[in-house]
């Protein structure tokens, strides 16, 4: 039989194990004086929303709700690329509402039967909670002298881009790259847009699952330029902590972020909280918080509230290109997927 190790480590293991178990169980132990578990609202959002929602908007709402009703609420949140969030919702995660980075994902949800078709359009501003323009982030001092999207096509420029398969931001970026060229070449929109996309995508060296992940790649030293939401970088740029600088293209798209409420995951008892939350998201207070966190408000008057916002000569919206249905079919699938990517792969 085994010549057993001395009993001391045995006991030690036992004590260590017990201590670990106690630590793990602690929050769920019925310690007297501990408040009962609050009502939970499950909120999914696309990648760059994390800080604005977790730190500012949702706590502000929880405070108001508590003052009004005396009830404590807690938010369970998850953030990932908009496409990832949409796929999770289709697979059945218990989200009660979700803020997606593009309406197309809301339409995918409707098609999968998760939400009624067009339900988000009945919300204020057609479901759009806030906006942000697409910008370029370059290394400090702009060593490659990048001023606009056509500069991304120059030989030797390495572009970090989120993946259009899982990232809503990447789809907006595609529209920005196509649209800025198309608007400068009236009458030749299709040709100019194709050339612009091909130029950029020949130089894409890293693709990340979400806009946030793409930024992390850029910060870890990949590439010369990153295509991303102004919101994700404007706060750090103003604070001087961004390892790079923002370049505003003369013409770019303003992304619009769509809220969906998932009725089938809503208990009747949760309904009043959700309705109040939805109203709050479009309230002046919440919109101001979004602006402070770098989003542009749907209420233009509030956008002066953030001095770090840059000026864009010719901003455009997805509506200028016929809405997401058309953009997806004609530009994302028709041009980028079917013509640009095969060409890049050669």
């Amino acid at each position: 039989m085994a010549s057993r190790p001395s009993a001391l480590p045995d006991r030690l293991a036992l004590v260590a194990g017990a201590a670990l178990l106690l630590y793990a169980l602690w929050p769920w132990l019925p310690v007297p004086g501990r408040a009962e578990t609050p009502r939970t609202v499950v909120f999914y959002g696309f990648s760059i929303l994390g800080e604005a929602l977790n730190d500012d908007v949702l706590p502000a709402f929880a405070r108001h709700w508590r003052e009004k009703t005396g009830e404590r609420i807690e938010f369970a949140t998850a953030f990932a690329g908009s496409g990832t969030v949409t796929n999770q919702l289709i697979m059945g995660v218990p989200a009660q509402c979700a803020l997606l980075s593009l309406e197309l994902d809301a339409e995918r949800l409707a098609k999968a039967g998760v939400i009624p078709a067009g339900s988000w359009r009945r919300l204020p501003h057609g479901g759009v909670v806030n906006r942000t323009p697409f910008v370029l982030v370059v290394r400090k001092g702009n060593p490659k002298r990048i001023r606009d999207f056509p500069d991304l096509a120059r030989p030797g420029v390495q572009v970090v881009h989120p993946d259009p398969l899982t990232s809503g931001g990447a789809n907006w970026a595609l529209l920005a790259e196509y649209g800025s060229a198309a608007r400068r070449n009236p009458g030749q929109e299709g040709k100019a847009g194709f050339a612009s996309l091909l130029g950029v995508w020949k130089n894409v060296t890293a693709q990340a699952a979400s806009a946030r992940a793409a930024r992390t790649q850029f910060e870890n030293g990949f590439g010369d330029v990153l295509v991303t939401y102004e919101q994700d970088v404007v706060e750090d740029a103003a604070a001087g902590t961004l390892p790079g600088e923002i370049v505003y293209p003369p013409s770019t798209v303003l992304s619009e972020h769509t809220l969906v409420v998932v009725d089938k995951n809503l208990d009747p008892a949760d309904r009043p909280v959700l309705d109040a939350l939805v109203r709050f998201l479009w309230s002046e207070e919440a919109q101001r918080l979004f602006v402070r966190r770098g989003f542009r408000s749907v209420d233009e008057r509030l956008n002066g509230g953030n001095p770090a916002f840059g000026r864009i000569q010719d901003p455009f919206l997805v509506a200028d290109f016929g809405g997401w249905d058309r953009v997806k079919e004609e530009i994302v699938d028709g041009i980028w997927k079917e013509r640009v990517m095969p060409e890049v792969g050669k």
Partner: protein, 266 residues
């Protein structure tokens, strides 16, 4: 045992040189980074509500996984070691399969079985669907870690002389008594190391968990998922504080593991 020879210096030196960049330096980097901002910053990151939840949740899942698989794995080992039956080989292979399947595939298969659109999950009422709940995470961990207990216990059972059991039996011990007083004590070391291995593996499981958990903070986000999410979001300090704790925990587990599997068995 081969007697220790002189002249081991060169090969040992080469081994250490190989291990340094492959294993030792990356682990050291975790701790260097964790403490770079000072203990205060590490403590702040560690205290974070989400981080605390993720660690506790991972530990609870690991305890449950270890407890359940300790019983199931020992039972499986006992059946396979003590009974001869047709189909024994295929069954043994099937039980050991989780070692070889990529964990992401395990997650996918669980989703396709138990998920809301899955083969069985479709039929379950809303409240009972296990995916994207702690139950789903537990299922994934039970699957992935199943073979470890078996691997630790079965060799001991195979080598256990049948005569002990027969002796116990002739002395009038029942089946359960034989198991409890003859077999179980002999398995002590294997049980211990099997449970620890299962625990350690569950604590670090990522591939299957990321598929089935839904990654909800304060609900289903395990420590490895927390590390990944924070790192992706660029919060390296947050990610690394939890990574350092996980690494330290695994060192402790490994220390006990070595004590039990490293000590001479007979």
């Amino acid at each position: 045992m081969i007697a220790r020879r002189r002249g081991a210096g060169l090969p040992v030196g080469i081994l250490v040189l190989v291990l340094l960049p492959l294993v030792l330096m990356p682990i050291a980097a975790v701790f260097v980074f964790a403490l770079r901002g000072g203990l205060g910053e590490f403590w702040e990151a560690f205290k974070n509500e989400d981080a605390q939840f993720a660690l506790r949740f991972s530990l609870l899942i690991a305890f449950l996984t270890a407890a359940i698989n300790a019983v199931l794995g020992t039972f499986a080992a006992y059946v396979l070691a003590k009974h001869r039956f047709p189909g024994e080989k295929p069954l043994t292979i099937a039980i050991n399969l989780p070692v070889a399947i990529p964990t992401v595939v395990v997650g996918t298969s669980l989703l396709l079985l138990w998920g809301p659109i899955g083969l069985l999950g479709k039929a379950l009422p809303e409240g009972l669907q296990p995916m994207f709940t702690p139950g789903g995470v537990l299922l994934a961990h039970l699957f992935v870690t199943f073979p470890y207990m078996l691997g630790a216990v079965k060799p001991l059972l195979d080598e256990l002389e049948v005569t002990y059991e027969e002796a116990a039996f002739t002395l009038g011990a029942g089946k359960w008594q034989t198991f409890r007083y003859v077999i179980l004590p002999a398995l002590r070391g294997g049980l211990f190391s099997g449970t620890l291995l299962t625990f350690a593996h569950s604590l670090g499981e990522f591939g299957a968990t990321v598929m089935v958990s839904g990654n909800l903070r304060l609900r289903t986000q395990t420590a490895p998922l927390y590390i990944f999410a924070q790192f992706e979001a660029g919060n390296v300090a947050q990610a690394n504080a939890v990574a350092a704790v996980l690494a330290a925990l695994s060192f402790v587990i490994f220390f006990f593991l070595l004590r039990y599997s490293g000590s001479p068995k007979r």
